[in-house]
């Protein structure tokens, strides 16, 4: 890792770190990105681990394939699996990494909304040492993050969820696989001890703003409420009002807003079901 960091520092903005290459190489071929040096990480040890103890740490080189098969994520952290398993096809998931997905900072990223819903932090390493950021604030524009040229993103980490919590992830596309989301939604809900009212919620939206977006007003609307159909629908409407989708070749802004409202409602319903199921 030290060698990687040194090379990163040496090449600076002329270099990029290469993991799975599923974004990087395609962008280079399309001429959207130029890099004079590629530093391949595929043999750097220590970056590919999933550590689950008090916190969950995902090494930057953890592949989507690894994520979707992690038994420890089948419970409250289910959305990690649900988001990983809809990224591209097997060929992509076998090599595409969490770190790459975060650094690529596409507003339509699938795993990123889930990590934000889990209040994840990410760590970058440069010659000067480590810097850690809340993932929510990491990307500032499509493809633009707080990572300095030459810095290596090494991990994402989030705290374990409190009891009576669940997550869910939903994605809309024009076809059922190999899709860049028209809209995707990650939801996380924590209910009180009696499993009646919501104590905390995260609603995170993809593909409806320049970066992955937390729908804070929608989240607030759920605080202290039972997750009734009405509350879920209100949250959906609030989330739709908070985002700023564009019309492009994939979908119109109006349809995206409609999808946000629907998918938020359904993701919250799924969370409620899941919390109920663990009773």
């Amino acid at each position: 890792m030290r060698e990687a960091v040194e090379l990163g520092a040496r090449f600076g903005a002329d270099g990029r770190f290469l993991a799975g290459g599923t974004d990087l190489l395609i962008q280079m071929r399309r001429g959207q990105l130029r890099a004079r040096h590629l530093v391949s990480l595929h043999r750097v040890p220590g970056l590919g681990a999933v550590d689950i103890d008090d916190a969950v740490t995902l090494g930057a080189l953890v592949t989507h394939r690894r994520l979707e098969r992690e038994p420890g994520f089948r419970g409250a952290l289910r959305a990690l699996i649900e988001s990983a398993e809809v990224v591209g096809g097997h060929q992509i998931r076998n090599v595409a990494t969490v770190g790459g997905n975060i650094v690529n900072a596409s507003p339509a990223a699938d795993v990123v909304p889930v990590l934000i819903a889990l209040d994840a932090e990410v760590t970058c390493v440069g010659p000067g040492g480590e810097r850690t950021f809340p993932l929510e604030a990491f990307a500032s524009a499509p493809g633009v993050t707080a990572r300095r040229p030459g810095e290596l993103l090494t991990r994402a980490r989030f705290a374990r969820l409190p009891p009576n919590s669940a997550t869910a992830f939903l994605k809309a596309g024009r076809r059922r696989a190999m899709e860049i989301a028209l809209v995707c939604v990650a939801a996380r809900v924590t209910l009180d001890a009696g499993r009646e009212r919501c104590v905390d919620a995260r609603i995170v939206l993809g593909a409806v703003a320049p970066t992955t977006l937390r729908a804070r007003a929608a989240e607030l609307s759920l605080r202290g409420q039972p997750l009734t159909e009405r509350a879920r629908r209100e949250a959906g409407r609030a989330a739709a009002a908070e985002c700023s989708p564009i019309s492009d070749v994939r979908a119109s802004a109006r349809y995206r807003a409609l999808l946000v409202a629907t998918l938020v409602e359904r993701a919250l319903a799924r969370c409620a079901e899941r919390i109920g199921q663990t009773a």
Binding site: A172, R174, R175, R176, A177, Y255, L258, T262
Partner: protein, 758 residues
């Protein structure tokens, strides 16, 4: 029909082993030592004056061996129906993607760098981007010199219209007066791409005698030979086109694509040159399906009898006529549908715009016209309170009745197809649950004519060589033809070897298009076997000392059952080779013309369907009331194939054709903005994946054709026709919402649901 031994059985296709082991070579794989790589510079402007083009900087770059522009090629216009096409834009650019220059270099990177070094000055002109704009009075002409172009005399051309085909039967105005209700609807469909997984590719090499060989994945080697001879200005006999293997065609690999660039660059450099298209070039400058606008006005009595139809279909044919005039003609037959309508005024227009010259895609005009016709049938049924199936059964043509241009229809299996498809989908329960509905659509199609020749030879080991000019595009048509051959000759399929698609050494074939290959090559084989049989029997009679009339072909041998004597084909072949030059035969076939009433048609390139097929599709689907997403539960096809030569591979055509049709129905469109394609990549051109396509249930109906081998009809194109209409009808049944434009996306459904008055 008596049981057959080889034909009619689901035998494994002959070329499967090479394909599953990776040893089969496609044109995209073909390479020669010392080969150069060619790339094409294409315009970014949809309409412009080409002021200046200068490749002198490009040629000086390392590795670059040639750069050609219009100045370097003969000023020749070529084209099928209208000779309006040119290799490179000469002084006018007519679509974004039109070739301006081509380079050859020692590597792809060097070739790409060379393109960037070509200086081009374009003066943009206002483009004509929609049919309506092209037809407006005073519209700029896409081809100012249109009147001076050589063209098929039968075409009706005028300015931006490169053909108007028309069918007139009876008196539509009177027919409308007879009607109790008149329905008028308008439908639109975008361009869609064939989506073959192998890019177009060609390798060209000239020899010292001034002959060029081009290895290409074309579906029509003899047509390419013709076009190249025109472009290169050499005699036909100096051009040889060979097809090593094709990774899918669907009509997109009919006309010249990269062969001419390869040949021109190879001539200039004296080296072999390979040119391949990229995904971007495929989606911007290929022979995709014409966008269409259909206006349909139909009169009907209150008990559901169709009395009159006035229909117009406008095809955006792009910058060059190409297939447009022919497609506009076929469209008129499709607008009539397989229905009995005594009064018709049907017109198909092919209109120039500043877009790529769209071409032929599996059942050209079929999905567009059928989407309109079959959607309207359901609209009519709904308004009259009739069952859509009953409405169709009441009006479909029957055995011995007339088609729209007066041809007499035989082997009409449509009633059986409709009933079986409806039965299989459970038509009695059309709306099984809220948000769920079933839809039906039916149609007809042709088995394209044109001639085919084959040579046969019996080898000294008893195997049979089948030498055909047809290319195998993946349908297993040549396996089917070989099955016909094996059946007639008394051998097994595994005894047959196929050599195909070489303009020098194989006989002429009209090409792998229009669902004709198994039909025509199969029939040519039957003729050739008859010839071969005569020779074999003559030789065997002498050899065995029996009369020819006592002989039979059985199990790879000639047997004289009464005399108890036998000679294998291998023995006879060896005998003939030693003393008679070998057992060699040839056979040809051309479909007899279908009689029709010439007074009913104008500007018509395709006035009758040969050995028509009939088909019905039924689908059961649900619609998500919030998102509009469609989930297909069941999809059934009943197709009248005449005679199922090889049921497994016919099912394969149906399953694949429906999948491709569902793509057009639900998710695919080439999107233009200001004359440029905005989704020219496979990320945003959305073809169905394995997760998107449901299981398709195929019901093979057999009403034997009078002409096809063992009664077979063409099967490859039809499955692509009905999916959009079937889906539209099922969505309407499920939601009450009628979508009249393709693709029927979840977005369109969701927004239409929200717009409905409550």
């Amino acid at each position: 029909m008596t049981a057959t031994r080889v034909v009619g059985r689901s035998l494994p296709r002959m070329d499967a082993p090479g394909k599953v082991t990776g040893s089969a070579v496609y044109a995209a794989d073909f390479a020669l030592p010392g080969m150069l790589y060619g790339k094409v510079l294409r315009s970014r402007e949809p309409h412009a004056r080409l002021v200046r083009i200068d490749a002198s900087r490009a040629v000086r770059l390392p590795g670059v061996r040639a750069a050609l522009t219009a100045a370097d090629v003969a000023d020749v216009r070529y084209g099928g129906s209208v000779k309006d096409e040119e290799v490179f834009a000469r002084d006018r650019v007519r679509f974004a993607g039109q070739p301006l220059a081509a380079v050859a270099a020692t590597s792809l990177e060097a070739a790409t760098a060379a393109l960037a070094a070509i200086d081009v000055v374009l003066e943009p002109l206002p483009p004509v981007l929609e049919v309506a704009a092209a037809l407006a009075p005073g519209a700029p002409l896409v081809h100012e010199g249109w009147a001076g172009y050589a063209a098929l005399p039968i075409l009706h051309r005028d300015g931006n219209v490169c053909n108007r085909a028309r069918i007139v039967v009876g008196d539509v105005e009177r027919g409308f007066e007879e009607a109790d209700r008149i329905f008028e609807q308008r439908f639109t469909t975008p361009s869609v791409h064939q989506g073959y997984t192998e890019p177009r590719a060609a390798v060209a090499q000239w020899d010292s005698a001034g002959q060029v060989t081009v290895w290409s994945n074309t579906q029509l080697p003899f047509e390419i030979q013709n076009t190249l001879a025109e472009i290169l200005q050499v005699p036909l006999s100096r051009v040889r086109v060979v097809v090593p293997g094709i990774g899918g065609g669907f009509g997109g690999k009919l006309r010249v694509g990269v062969e001419h660039f390869a040949a021109l660059l190879a001539r200039k450099t004296g080296r072999a040159v390979k040119v391949m298209t990229t995904s971007e070039e495929e989606l911007t400058a290929a022979y995709a399906r014409q966008p269409a606008i259909v206006e349909l006005k139909t009169g009907v009595t209150s008990d559901g009898r169709l009395t009159a139809r006035e229909g117009r279909l406008w095809f955006d044919t792009g910058a060059f006529a190409g297939s447009g005039p022919g497609v506009a003609s076929v469209a008129t037959l499709m607008l009539a549908g397989p229905y009995r309508i005594p009064n018709l005024l049907l017109e198909g227009y092919a209109v120039y715009t500043h877009k790529t010259n769209f071409g032929s895609f599996r059942a050209p005009s079929g999905p567009q016209a059928n989407f309109a016709v079959e959607s309207q049938m359901d609209i009519i049924a709904d308004a009259l309170g009739l069952d859509p199936l009953a409405l169709r059964l009441k009006n479909i043509v029957r055995e011995g009745e007339e088609g729209p241009t007066g041809q007499v229809l035989t082997a009409v299996g449509l009633d059986e197809c409709l009933r079986k498809a409806a039965d299989a989908i459970g038509w009695k329960e059309r709306r099984p649950a809220p948000g769920r509905g079933k839809g039906i659509a039916c149609g007809w199609w042709t088995t394209t004519g044109g001639s085919s020749g084959v040579y046969l030879k019996i080898n000294p080991d008893g195997s049979v060589a089948l030498n055909t000019g047809a290319a195998e595009i993946g349908t297993a048509a040549l396996t089917g033809a070989a099955q016909v051959l094996a059946e007639d000759l008394g051998v097994d399929l595994t005894d047959v070897n196929v050599v195909s698609a070489d303009t020098l050494s194989t006989p002429f074939d009209f090409g792998a298009q229009g669902s004709r290959t198994a039909f025509a090559v199969g029939n040519a084989c039957r003729a050739a076997v008859a010839d071969l049989k005569r020779q074999v029997f003559a030789l065997a009679a002498g050899h065995l000392g029996v009369d020819e009339s006592a002989l039979e072909l059985r199990g790879g041998a000639v047997v004289a059952p009464a005399a108890g004597r036998r000679a294998t084909l291998a023995e006879l072949a060896r005998l003939s080779q030693a003393s008679g030059g070998g057992l060699i035969a040839h056979g040809t076939f051309v479909a007899p013309p279908t009689a029709y009433d010439a007074k009913r048609v104008e500007g018509h390139v395709y006035p009758a369907f040969h050995s028509p097929s009939f088909h019905a599709h039924a689908v059961d689907l649900s619609v998500d009331a919030e998102t509009g997403e469609v989930t297909i539960h069941r999809y059934v096809v009943a197709q009248d194939v005449g005679f199922a030569m090889n049921p497994t591979y016919i099912q394969g055509q149906i399953e694949g054709g429906v999948a491709q049709g569902l793509g057009q129905a639900l998710s695919e469109e080439i999107v233009y903005d200001g004359g440029r394609v905005v989704n020219a990549n496979l990320t945003d051109y959305k073809m169905p994946t394995a997760v998107d396509v449901p299981r398709i249930e195929s019901i093979l109906v057999q009403h034997p054709s009078l002409v096809g081998p063992f009664g077979a009809k063409g099967v490859g194109e039809p499955p692509n026709i009905e999916p959009p209409a079937a889906v539209a009808n099922a969505v309407a049944s499920a939601t009450g919402v009628r979508i009249t434009s393709l693709p029927i996306t979840a977005e369109k459904i969701a927004l239409a649901l929200r717009e409905r008055p409550r």
